[in-house]
Amino acid sequence: MSRVDPQLRLSLALLATLAAVNLVANPARFAPEQLLTSLGLAAPVILVAMAATPSILSGSGGIDVSIGPMVGLLNVVIVRYGVGVLDAPPWLAVLLCVASGTALGLANGLLVVLARLQPIVATLSSYLVFAGLSVLIMPEPGGSVPRWMAALAKEFSWLPLAGVALAWSAFRWTPSHRDLLAIGGSDRAAYTAGVPVDVIRCAAYAMGGFIAGIAALAMTALIGSGDPNIGAPLTLKAIAAAALGGVSLAGGRGGLMNAGIGGLIVFLIDLTLTGVKASVFALQVALGVLLLGAVMSNAFLAQRRSA
């Protein structure tokens, strides 16, 4: 564990370069008094990338394409019901968001493990269901959030990230973390070694849902309202970010740290290109080139390592 993974080193180098570019191009964003607000701006994409990770780690084509719409659904649920109907105190609103996220993730997990649908099909179905439900619950963007929640995107923007980091560190202490990586590497070998493959795999999806709940909090705090269409585009961003950070899409390799770094990279790319006022299409091309470049250099490293 002491040696730094070359993959991680590559992601970190990319991150450092982007940070340096932004520091020069856009120093105001990184002024000490702005730092927490900038973090609040970055938190949703970082957290969504993290939310996509446990299912990818679980291997055998594990992936949760519903993660974006899930965050979108939780956003409108919390604004419409948590804030609107219940006028919930902070603890209840947070609980509502995280618990419903976990439940949605668990539903995905059960579809994969019990109904034995291929993960991409299972989560594609829930993608459609979550996206549809979001619009049914809140047809138009609207609503507002209380002051304490808005603070989660400003002076307390570190809190959601710290919450996830803490929860994941705790999980890493349990043997289940190793089990998760084991089934991601080879579920057959893990199964013969007595690892409860189904339970762990299902739990991975539920964990993704849990993190999605926290991502939804950060997102809601940031936009200060409910928006039924905010979720869907997040899926591809999240998966791309995880891959950029060095999470292997084949499963079994990587962790939330990788995803977090990937999320930060995606955020900085967006920031850089909006900073230089490039057209959104140039931004799109740049994102694609970077994504391709990053996964290709990861592949080179992997080949060299195995050689």
């Binding site: 084509g61 992936i63 579809l111 109904a115 034995r116 649908l117 291929q118 991409i120 099909v121 299972a122 594609l124 179905s125 829930s126 993608y127 459609l128 269901v129 996206a131 549809g132 439900l133 979001s134 619009v135 049914l136 047809p139 579920d187 057959r188 199964y191 013969t192 493959v197 189904d198 591809l236 998966i239 791309a240 891959a243 899409l249 084949a250 057209s279 959104v280 299409f281 140039a282 931004l283 799109q284 091309v285 994102l287 694609g288 080139v289 994504l291 391709l292 996964v295 290709m296 592949a299 080179f300 992997a302 080949q303």
Partner: protein
Amino acid sequence: MAEVMRGTIRRWGSSLAIVGLVVALFAVGGVVVDGFASERSLRSILVLAAVVGVASAGQTLVVIIGGIDLSIPFLIGFANVTAAQLFGAEWPWPMVVLTTTVMTGTIGALNGWLSCRFRLHPLIVTLAVGTIAQGAVLWWTSGFPSGSVPRELTAVVSLGSATGPLPVPPIVPLWLAITTCLAVFERWTVLGRHLFALGSNPVAAELALVRPQRVWSITFGLSGILAGTTGVLLLGFTGQSSGTIGSPYLFQTIAAVVVGGTPLSGGQGTVARTALGSILLVELSTMLVGLRLPSPGLQVVFGLVLAALVAVYGRQKHTRELL
């Protein structure tokens, strides 16, 4: 021997199940929705299924070799915009179609080659390459694609037109021809069999002298060509180009493949069943629209039905059965 028999029954069983579902859904639709079984509605179902079907045929081949192609929606948009620009520049239409599909085919082949050569997950490669292609074409037209659509193209897809004696627009027989050709290709040509060999066991296939990079490039290239074709055809529908016109086809092509009973794990499946899957999907959405379901509700029902359908005949094996 018994194993072979059981395999045959299973294969034909699921094909029959899909045909049965297509027929049953049509019957149900005819009963619950007014005018569902009318000639006009039948024609529109076929035309819409043809559009989904052409793109999904490419997705099927890619899935058979164990890949997945997320660049289809982007290439559809790419072809849509490029074709409109070229039509606008007064190119003759065969040249436009050829140029556009050759371009998308090349981009597709690049997808396959990169994924195979560098052992990258095709999910990420196709996503990245597709993003670049779509971004580039939109950048070129600065987001306001212009151009025009010739009347010949509109006639190919318009609901009212006919193909010789057939009462359907040419897009439907075109789709049928593409599906038939690809079904023959995958079943009876050496290259076609290589797809299945690579999909079920890449290591063994390579030992049997299948050249993975070549097969991956060709297969993804075919998918690119078909996505390009879809993009051009869509131009005839809308009469106006758009770089994002392909977005619904990301999930629709995957859904058509899966509903058609081709597992995403590779090594199995057929283009013919995907054609049935496309019809099934379009029937379902036509019926739900006919029931005056609002579109978000339609999405919810669609998701549930997709999960239910696949749970009926597309389940994966349990880990213990893989040992």
